[in-house]
Symmetry: C2
Subunit: 336 residues, 2 copies
């Protein structure tokens, strides 16, 4: 595959200019480019520049307001809401993050309800930021139907990622971020684009038969939840937190409401934050570190997030190889 080598500043600029040229104001373009850059930096290409054409499509169709200004309000002593005003998640997260952190420190536990928002990236970005402030954080969001409930062969749940971050003092937080699908839709799309086949158990084709062909899943097929009915329960939990609890669209509703432009549908996100220092154990940090030391010492075990941090360290001094077709498409969308 032909690629273009870009450093992280160039990745950021490529995204920011394209988004600004397509209707984002400076604040939104910068926040989106930060998120896209963070994904590329950490080797999470499915949420990096690969998303730019979808962002642009949703700006051009008028579905998403690239000039939206998020508004923060306190719904209850432990509940903060950010109304994204029909804009994208990254700027709304910038506005909501500190109020959530402040609320969790005061209350011990707090929730952030993010509404009227279009989310098109990974969740580890938000839980890592909250965990770096010394809090445990859990985030989830619904999406359009892509995953079959246990026993079914039609899509109903979104890929429904859940991310968790645990603060580790001076060390980078422990973070996992995983779709309730056996594989994230973005990964299936990457596999299709690159012509890879998938492991068994990832999905069914349009006829409801098991397949390892990513394109067969995209073309009217369906993803399966990870781990059978137990993973389906996690997908259900995500729907109820990210949609039912906060009054936003369930995945099936998000699709019914969406204009099909290829960009992210409107929906919500739920973030939980807890301050371990308010739960009664002054030794919590060292206690958890002892646990991680034991876990990480088992042969064959890697702590969640370690690979992402290794990518980050490597990419800080290296170039990102961006597929040339993607790079050229973004340049074209920028109108240069």
């Amino acid at each position: 595959m032909s690629t273009v080598a870009l450093n992280l500043a160039q990745v950021h600029q490529l995204a920011e200019r394209c988004l600004a040229a397509n209707g984002c104001d400076a604040a939104n373009a910068a926040a989106l480019a930060d998120t896209i850059g963070a994904a590329e930096r950490d080797g999470c290409h499915a949420h990096g520049l690969f998303r730019v054409p979808g962002y642009v499509a949703s700006l051009r169709s008028g579905k998403v307001d690239g000039k939206a200004a998020p508004r923060v309000e306190q719904l209850a002593p432990g509940v903060v809401r950010v109304d994204a005003g029909g804009g994208y998640a990254p700027l709304a997260l910038q506005h909501g993050r500190q109020p959530l952190i402040d609320c969790a420190r005061t209350q011990g536990i707090a929730a952030l309800a993010m509404v009227n928002m279009h989310h098109f990236s990974a969740l580890w970005i938000e839980v890592e930021a909250v965990a770096r402030a010394g809090l445990a954080a859990l985030a989830c969001t619904a999406y359009m139907p892509a995953v079959a409930p246990a026993g079914a062969s039609q899509p109903f749940f979104g890929t429904n990622p859940m991310a968790f971050g645990w603060p580790r003092g001076e060390r980078a937080p422990l973070v996992f971020d995983q779709a309730s699908a056996a594989m994230a839709r973005g990964e299936v799309m990457i596999a299709a684009r690159e012509g890879h086949s998938l492991p068994p158990g990832v999905g069914l084709d349009a006829q409801g038969a098991a397949t390892t062909d990513p394109q067969a899943i995209i073309d009217g097929g369906v993803l399966l939840p990870f781990g059978g009915y137990k993973g389906a329960s996690i997908a259900l939990l995500v729907e109820l937190l990210a949609a039912g609890l906060i009054g936003q669209a369930f995945s099936f509703e998000a699709k019914e409401n969406d204009n099909g432009d290829g960009g992210p549908p409107r929906g919500g996100e739920f973030i939980l934050a807890m301050d371990p220092s308010r739960f009664g154990d002054a030794n919590w940090l060292a206690h958890a570190e002892g646990f991680f030391a034991r876990l990480g010492g088992i042969a064959g075990v890697r702590l969640p997030g370690d690979r992402r941090y290794a990518n980050r360290e490597r990419n800080a001094a290296a170039n990102i190889e961006v597929p040339r077709s993607l790079h050229d498409r973004i340049v074209e969308l920028t109108g240069d």
Copy 2:
């Protein structure tokens, strides 16, 4: 298998008398018998009378205080703690439930940290009770090492159940309760006792090889997490909430601290409660019901908890068939 037919009142009395004869005070014996009776009523035999010999062993060894009086304290505006005082979970839950519910209604979101406790039952009992009060509830607890982390072949995580309940107004709450293990240890023990084999993917034997023999898993083998590394992440989350956050024993510590009497180790439990009416959508109840109607209408799909409620309805008027060997053992332990 020879059985003894008991109605629910007789199940309750059988458990209560045995526990009282072995050192429980009236409050603890009644709370334990309520929990055991609820499990038998709902067809969850692995958490019913089957547990009584383990309870008795832990009373006789002196590990658990059958006369413990739980104490409730407020750690932060959104954090309630119940110190079980070295006793069993059911009485501690009775004390902590209403303070948790009140706190969640006031704050919008609240956590209950249960500490110095011995938990030997299912979690759906507590999340159902909180959900019947109109709140969404998530509960989890760690246990002794039984599940291998992703990539490992030795036990480190507990079976680590996570339960969730969603309030449905006049209807019974939606509830799921699932081990992070591919199968709960209690179910494996039942299968071994009854001579059933297991589906593939449940565990490894003492040599680290895949097995479908429940006894091979019990005899020095290990359970696997559901859904590979993603289920392992859920098991890790449970350790961090039910142990790290609230200053209680991780599963590996619980085993190191335990006297091996066969009863439940000392540890903690984490319960999260959220009041949907405080999250900004006055229509939340009907909105979620629309979601359940769509989900339940898909061919092949059953809502979590439906089978348990069906068992409950059937058993309200029927007898429970208790294995005679278990019945006689409990009578013997009672000293009648």
